[in-house]
């Protein structure tokens, strides 16, 4: 009893740490006077760092705990690391933009709650828990989106909320159908009951799974369900956009990974075809529309849609003859990590270019950056090259693992499409580099850089290069996360 309790406490410790620190900061921020709320920046980073340590030790110990609604396997801890990294970096960015906001403290509290939701999503073993975790994350994200009290922010938050609620409806309906067919929302019970399901109840499960796919498709902004993304990404404060493109997207992917692991073996749906079509549309349409963007945040939003498409290639490759290919799922996890790093780096530059309250969003405004801030310009060029997927950067390695998995699963056509898409994307990513280096400046404003921001930029830039050169260890971590796939 006590041993079980201790194991449970250890498994849940990351989640509990986030919730408790969030609640604590909630009370503290209510008491603090307005000018002092910026001090909550430090305890928030401390809480996130502490949680990262807890997650890392649990990953190393790696014990899959059976029973209950929570699952504690390395898949969950691996994705937790992606969430925590992206939240940590986006919180650092928020220091620049949200300082002096009337609701300074609540930003940090909501960030912690959103992280708790993401972590719980990775750890849920039950469809209903998955849904509640998703709502914890999403509700915090809706408020963060409209955090700055402007018309644009309010519009973005409202859109995100309405589309999110719409997606939640799909999810709930899917869960209800699966519950109706199997009598449970527990993944392990569903897989057992589903293996023996025939006729009508199998069809109910299939329709339910399709609805779940649509619901999570909204969250990762896969293409038929992506319409909210550009407006929301543009209207949200830049650090929140960075968080949505990295952490929230990775949370959607962990849910999709769980769905594939749980449902692909027995539903006998054309999984590979469905996911391939989704990946194809998401990559191609995301990249094609990104070509026309002049606003950098919208451009990065469409690029984020396209990158979700690349990751979906890995998900499509993870099923071969009804068997789960662990290596492909590991590539998805690796890609989420890689994409989070490089996109947050790019958003960090966007934050650096703007000042409090007024952002410099047009790509044309970046002209002349190389003369005034050679280091910033070089970093931006690096992130753009990495997002394109040119060696020796992390973006190249991430795509390499994904496409290798796709080839070994026999998805040659999809691989060719992904490579062609990278070529298309080179056009708009490199045109940003062109503007930075070769266009004459017009009315340039020198950005003021703080140490925290410099830390974020240099950290992501160094990680993108270092992991681009020596990715093997990190990929081993991703691979080992999927070694013992349960349920």
């Amino acid at each position: 009893m006590t041993i079980l309790f201790l194991a449970m406490a250890k498994a849940l410790a990351p989640f509990l740490a986030l919730v408790l620190s969030g609640l604590l900061l909630l009370i503290v921020t209510a008491f603090l006077p307005k000018e002092k709320t910026r001090l909550l920046f430090y305890p928030t980073l401390l809480a996130l760092a502490g949680t990262t340590i807890l997650v890392a030790t649990n990953w190393v110990d790696g014990f899959p705990l059976e029973g209950g609604m929570v699952i504690s396997d390395r898949i969950a801890y691996g994705f937790d690391l992606v969430f925590l990294l992206s939240v940590f970096l986006s919180t650092i960015l928020s220091r620049e933009t949200e300082e002096g906001n009337a609701h300074g403290g609540e930003y940090y509290v909501l960030t912690l709650f959103a992280t708790a939701g993401m972590v719980l999503m990775a750890h849920s073993r039950d469809l209903l828990l998955l849904f509640i975790a998703l709502e914890i994350m999403s509700l915090s994200a809706y408020i963060l989106t409209s955090y700055r009290q402007s018309a644009k922010g309010a519009e973005a938050g409202m859109k995100y909320f309405v589309m999110g609620a719409f997606a939640s409806g799909f999810l709930l309906y899917g869960i209800a159908l699966i519950y109706g067919a199997t009598g449970s929302t527990d993944f392990s019970v569903i897989t057992q009951a589903g293996a023996g399901a025939t006729g009508n109840s199998l069809w109910l499960i299939r329709i339910g799974v399709a609805l779940l796919l649509i619901g999570f498709g909204f969250k990762i902004a896969a293409v038929p369900f992506h319409f909210w993304a550009p407006d929301v990404y543009e209207g949200a404060p830049t650090p929140v956009t960075a968080l949505m493109a990295s952490g929230v997207k990775a949370a959607g992917f962990v849910a999709l990974v769980r769905l594939v692991i749980a449902f692909a073996p027995f539903t006998a749906l054309p999984w590979v075809k469905i996911l391939s079509v989704l990946a194809f549309l998401t990559m191609t349409i995301g990249n094609l529309i990104a070509l026309k963007q002049t606003n950098i945040k919208r451009m990065l939003a469409y690029s984020s849609i396209a990158h979700a498409g690349y990751a979906l290639v890995g998900l499509a490759a993870s099923i071969k003859n009804g068997q789960i290919q662990e290596e492909a799922l590991a590539a998805v996890l690796f890609y989420m990590f890689a994409y989070s790093l490089m996109t947050i780096g790019a958003f960090a530059i966007v934050v650096a270019m703007g000042r409090k309250g007024d952002e410099v969003d047009e790509i044309g405004d970046y002209a002349g950056l190389s003369e005034h801030h050679p280091a910033l310009a070089a970093a931006m060029a690096l992130f753009m090259i990495s997002l394109t997927g040119i060696p020796p950067t992390l973006g190249f390695i991430g795509k390499f693992y994904l496409l290798r998995a796709a080839v070994s699963s026999g998805l040659i056509g999809l691989t060719v499409v992904a490579v062609l898409n990278s070529v298309i994307s080179a056009f708009y990513y490199l045109s940003v580099v062109m503007v930075i280096y070769f266009q004459k400046e017009k009315g340039y404003r020198l950005p003021q850089l703080s140490y925290t921001l410099l830390f974020a930029v240099s950290f992501t830039a160094m990680a993108v290069i270092y992991l681009g050169l020596f990715p093997e260890e990190l990929f081993q971590v991703a691979k080992q996360s999927f070694q013992a796939v349960v349920f």
């Binding site: 609640l23 009370i27 006077p33």
Partner: protein, 131 residues
């Protein structure tokens, strides 16, 4: 099973039909004498005062939201109260109690936040706002 859904369909058809058929019959037999007095909104015989499209005080929403949160809390606690004796007999009483206490505690944190921020006061002092 499909046949039982058929019953529901018949009920829905009857309910919708009832409304429209009655309206249609009313249309046929009533005299049509429109006047401005008839067009005004009905307020229990009183003279109508202004439009119904007015801004409500935002405070109503906050109070309503708080009410719903604690309403849901009761809705969650009540089923546990019903089976609690049985759980105690099975030796699961303490876990259930701890869980529901944690649940209530988290909500209390929210209440405390709202209280400290001064959102429970009907007339909020403006100087208090950034507190």
């Amino acid at each position: 099973m499909l046949f039982q859904f058929g019953n529901v369909l018949v009920f829905i058809a009857l309910a919708v039909g009832f409304v429209f058929i009655n309206l249609f019959i009313g249309q046929l037999i009533r005299p049509s004498v429109p006047s401005t007095m008839k067009g005004t909104s009905y307020e229990c015989g009183e003279e109508p005062v202004g439009s119904a499209w007015l801004n409500f005080n935002i405070r109503f929403y906050i109070i309503a939201l708080l009410f719903i949160i604690f309403d849901v809390e009761i809705a969650f606690m009540f089923p546990i109260g019903v089976v609690f004796k049985q759980w105690v007999a099975e030796g699961r009483g303490m876990i259930a109690l701890a869980e529901i206490l944690v649940f209530a505690l988290i909500l209390l944190f929210g209440l405390a936040y709202v209280w400290i921020k001064g959102d429970l006061e009907w007339v909020k002092k403006l100087g208090n706002q950034g507190k």
